[in-house]
Symmetry: D2
Subunit: 422 residues, 4 copies
């Protein structure tokens, strides 16, 4: 694919942002491209994922997004393989007996309405989101494009080894990483690079290995009590509102941990029916994080105890469902060194940082951890791109010049990984 083709692909994906497990058009478009290559295997949908998934939308919502993908021209035969929201793909190319190296890119969009301002390039150039209310506001359109570009660059090289490119769904809700990590496709990978554009780094800057991922676990807790008339029979209710309020107050009060940073947040709440009814049901959505997976598990365990005790205190039941999760992870020094060396020698790269601190969460860590546990190495590479608006805002955009830089740095780094490991 030429640079112009890559830009065209990125813009097409940008026009069709889709949320977790609904990346129907995106997957179909990628599969359509990938099938044109000389691959040894292309795993699609449930072939690319373990069975156990969380956060899958209900049938109605899946069906709506499937219809949109169809209307946008997605191939029916591919859509059939994505049934039930099994999106994403893994492309495999074997070129000799060398080691197995891999790239992970994510492909989903966000529930953000894209800017229509004239100075927002996608609006001006006619590739603004066609899925109103949704937007590629974190550059995953570029990531998926880079995945195809890296594949082409390596197929076109003297690479000796096996290459796998993981097109991962559901990163924004941190639900896609775990089922892809446990699909089996990672088990023979010797070196894995993940990539993210932007993150406040300008075009031309490369971060060889990002660290500082907070392990995270999201939960949804539903308190269920009994309703009663708040005026006539206040004592007859079991008040889910009081249970939830007590839980929230105490969740934020879970003790800090001396071993490192922890986080807790209750981000969403809804419940009750009328001012004069003792509330029967209140639902909260929240999350806990830790600087390490152990710290996240510490606060997660305490949070569950708070939720259960608060329910019990007010005669309620509480159902706790795990939503998205991601462990902590660190980039390995050997890969960091390769990427830094390669980057310094790559045209278009103007500065190279050894590392940076993310301070947030990312479920690429599941894939990194899987590779590291199997004896391989992993690194999370930052590719600078001038972005006018911040990540997750309506005016986010990428500098398309950085796509080419990313493809160069990543493909040459993976080739070098294979060479050194050999």
């Amino acid at each position: 694919m030429t640079d112009a083709d890559l830009v065209e692909l990125r813009r097409d994906l940008h026009r069709h942002p889709e949320p977790a497990w609904c990346e129907f058009y995106t997957t179909a478009r990628l599969v359509d491209e990938l099938e044109k290559r000389d691959l040894d295997a292309l795993y699609v949908g449930s072939e690319a994922l373990a069975d156990d998934r969380v956060g899958v939308p209900d049938d109605g919502e899946l069906s709506d997004w499937l219809d949109r993908a169809r209307d946008a021209g997605a191939r029916e035969d591919v859509l059939a393989r994505l049934d039930g929201g099994h999106t994403g793909a893994v492309a495999v190319a074997e070129r000799g007996d060398g080691p197995t190296v891999a790239l992970r890119v994510d492909i989903d969009g966000l529930p953000i309405t894209e800017s229509t301002e004239a100075d927002h390039a996608p609006a001006a150039a006619g590739f603004r989101s066609e899925n109103e209310g949704y937007m590629h506001a974190c550059g995953h359109d570029a990531h998926a494009t880079i995945g195809v570009g890296v594949l082409d660059a390596i197929l076109d090289s003297d690479f000796d080894g096996t290459l796998k490119v993981f097109f991962q769904p559901g990163e924004e809700k941190i639900v896609g990483g775990e089922p892809m990590a446990t699909s089996g496709h990672l088990d023979d990978v010797d070196a894995l690079l993940a990539v993210h554009v932007g993150l406040d780094h300008p075009t031309g800057q490369i971060v060889a290995g990002i660290d500082g991922f907070l392990a995270v676990s999201q939960f949804e807790a539903t308190f269920s009590g009994s309703p009663s008339h708040a005026g006539a029979r206040p004592e007859a209710g079991e008040n889910a509102m009081q249970a939830a309020a007590t839980a929230i107050g105490n969740l934020y009060g879970i003790p800090r941990h001396a071993d490192g940073a922890t986080r807790v947040n209750v981000g969403v709440i809804e419940g009750g029916t009328a001012t004069n009814i003792v509330p029967e049901r209140v639902r909260i959505e929240g999350e806990v994080r830790g600087e390490t997976t152990e710290l996240m598990e510490y606060i997660d365990e305490k949070a569950r105890r708070v939720l259960r005790s608060a329910a019990e205190m007010h005669g309620c039941e509480v159902e706790i469902e795990r939503a998205g999760t991601a462990p902590s992870a660190e980039s390995d020094d050997d890969l960091r060194e390769i990427v830094a060396d390669v980057a310094r020698d790559t045209s278009g790269v103007t500065s190279v940082l050894d590392t940076d601190h993310l301070g947030g969460s990312e479920d690429a860590t599941y894939l990194m951890q899987r590779v590291q546990e199997g004896g391989g190495s992993a690194a999370y590479v930052g590719v600078g791109t001038d972005h006018p608006g911040g990540h997750h805002t309506s005016t986010f955009d990428v500098d398309e010049a950085s796509i080419d830089v990313a493809v160069d740095v990543l493909s040459r780094s993976l080739i070098e990984c294979a060479r050194r490991r050999d």
Copy 2:
């Protein structure tokens, strides 16, 4: 109107339940009937209400209900007089120099989906709600019908005095009582009867004067803080969720009062946007009640202090809006005696109770209080009716035989009031 006509009217109203300030069809149908009588005045919409109203739906919702009323055949000229959701009416008939007596009935429905079961009479007999999701589940269709019936009965008698019948909107949300009470139309009333059917009393039973109304004030409080990323910048947010949780916990903890019963409830909550965002906005809806208006005001004042301090504690603002309110009230003994005397002498009445305790709230109390403050008397009369399902449930229905009983007892009581006061 014949008994059969009254039943027909009740069933027509039953088919068209409408919520507070949206009683367009109901008001139009009543006005259409009332204009056929020899009235001295008929105040409609804003003529029947003071200007200051709370709980008025937004224009879109008003417009939807107006359309439904139009589609159901409401008279356009009447609808025009109800613009902006000024529903309800006051009918006045002067018959000599005697005192002014009045009846208050309410006319609104509830957001409850009516049963479709074969043993639910409205479903079986074809007058189930045509406004799906709404239902006359508290007998206000019967109340409005009784209003017309009483008017007819008195016009047809040797009544000496002035009769006013108040068709009050918005009782279920306790928003209609206050603007009707302060409209001026109550200021010359010497004796007021309000009526409610059912309340677990069987057909044939009359309660001469109900007491035990809890004064009530509903509120909506919106906490506004600042959002931030819960993982990356937890300290940068001002957490509206923590403010709301602290408020809720402390609202329920407002001290009991030695002078009588108080109540507090937070019935509805919603807020926040995502698990990883410190919540910027959380909205709660609640209410306070008291056995007397003073007790309600005691707990209301404390509740406002809790709401403000909880906001301040977490760096948030809180906007508190009053929603519906109603004072406490007591039925006067002179009217209670008249109603009891009349009832014992009325065909179809099988038992008479002097009083009963409501234990809930009702904004007829605003009208009762207005009359009592002006030197008149007021009583809240219960008219038994066999009702298969409980009030505010999907299978509630009235025994239509009780409509006639109510008309007889109330019309004869009002005539007697005028006679004794004279």
Copy 3:
């Protein structure tokens, strides 16, 4: 005993106020008096009480009070019968075959330092408390005296029946009523009067039967967790302070009850050791009350659930100990009528009220309930007395003229009870 003797007795008791289960001097002095009468039985200490008692001070404290009693001249042989803090007595006089009537008086003092002001009669007249820090600030010195006076008056009359006078310990801590009520001595009582002086009624006023006793149960709850250094290992503690704070917030939030008044209070708290230690232990003392015993039990059960869940939420244990309790009770109309009739005919009585509302708690209710359950009647009689300071304040005092009034009204009422029951 002459009126002057009664005053002398009252002043001697006033000089020796003693708290619950430590009424050693008081009991010994009373026994010394009672043994001079022609009694059929005199039950002292453990003979007057059931075995099961709460709130008994530790041995050191009992021993201290025993020493004080000894130093004040109490008879050693009586003190020996009060071993272990089994204070109080029951005097029995049989005079014919008539019914068994009874009077209950309480005998304990309060931990209040008595005024030394010149206008405080006990200070001026030289009978101020000799037990510094303790005081008869609620008139129990007068009550005990009235008990002796009534006994004398009845022995001196043509009374036909059996008279029992109950000198009850530990009313202020509501710990004496239950073991005396279940001692067996109440089981054959046909009519019981209890008495209280003052209560804001002036000398000369009699309340024939007081109602409005709130049932009460006091508790002590100790939360135990694990300490840790709050700076170095905040996560290693199990925080009893957080458990207690959560419990307190939620105790006050236990829902009101539609059937009547409830109360909850956490009156005392102490715990923790240093600012830099996660608190291992926090102890609270509180109480719940209800307009009826059932309402008290409703809120008591909810309170225990709150305490247990709050402990669990923070990884703590909680030990809950019941302290004093008292049920609700109502004065019977038949006795109320007798007392009112007698009072209207008694010299020194200037006004008679049928009833009054206490609004607090009293463990005479245990004895009243016992008699009522056995088929007898009971009433709680108020005897007015001008009291300069309020009850439970350092300047409280009784008008000694009211002692004679009380003796007359109560003795003649009991004689009349026996007569009417016969």
Copy 4:
């Protein structure tokens, strides 16, 4: 002073542990020793401290400790200079024109009862605490001794410069550091070493510069409301217990900070008078900490807002008093290097660590910060000592062999500091 003299001095100080601002015997004993040296200045008591002090005991307690010091043989003329609890001293020796170097040692004991077990050396060898209930359980007896030893060693060397030794009171309550730091005596110091023995490092191990001090601020908050009878007038009270409970719950919930560790603890609580009284007064003692002074100030400001709003919410006042405080600080690399170099070359030193992480707080940081702000350098040196029991436990003791090691390392390091700075 010989090594034996130093041991004798340490044991004498060990026998007389004294708390903050009561180090009368200790200061007098040290002054007595110091006056024997050829000093250029010796500042005692208020000469050694700025005026503004917190945590000073009341007159009665000061007077008690003064009496004990007197009884133990302290010199009256020195005690006179310590009036009002102005304890501590600064010794100054000028030896040429070289730089000013300084050592800071702390001198106070802890409210811990010392072990009487035979295997506890001070008990076995007869120098157990003579102030029962107090103990040198953190080695400050050794620190003060080391201060004298270092002074002697430097006076006995070819040191060129000025030496200041700070004998600081009140470290355990972190109240002595600030007034000594702002006394003016630190303002010309070019290099400051502070020292602590033990901290789980064995005899022979030196830590050249300890870091990881948490900035800390302790507070005492007293909530004052109005009492009322919890049964009869629950609404009439302003409940300080509810205010305190709400404050505690929300203090622990102050958001974590992305820039580093924060801490909050409520360590002590007491209040209320009886179960049936709405509590009028509840007092809490707590603390906030931060990895940096800024982080401590962040959480301190939030804590004050919580305390004030919680009081306001329940109609109470809150009085907040600052107790002890200490900033964060870091050891400077230049001094760390000198100490490490010297230590590696010192007899008795078996291992040298560049740094260690304290994880707690220490008010030597006030002195370190003062020197650093004036352009000087500072380091906090750890001197290992085998200690059988943990710090702040009843069996803590130091290996006296480490005193000599400390004197050697610190005196030679300070001499080297002067040399390199010159």
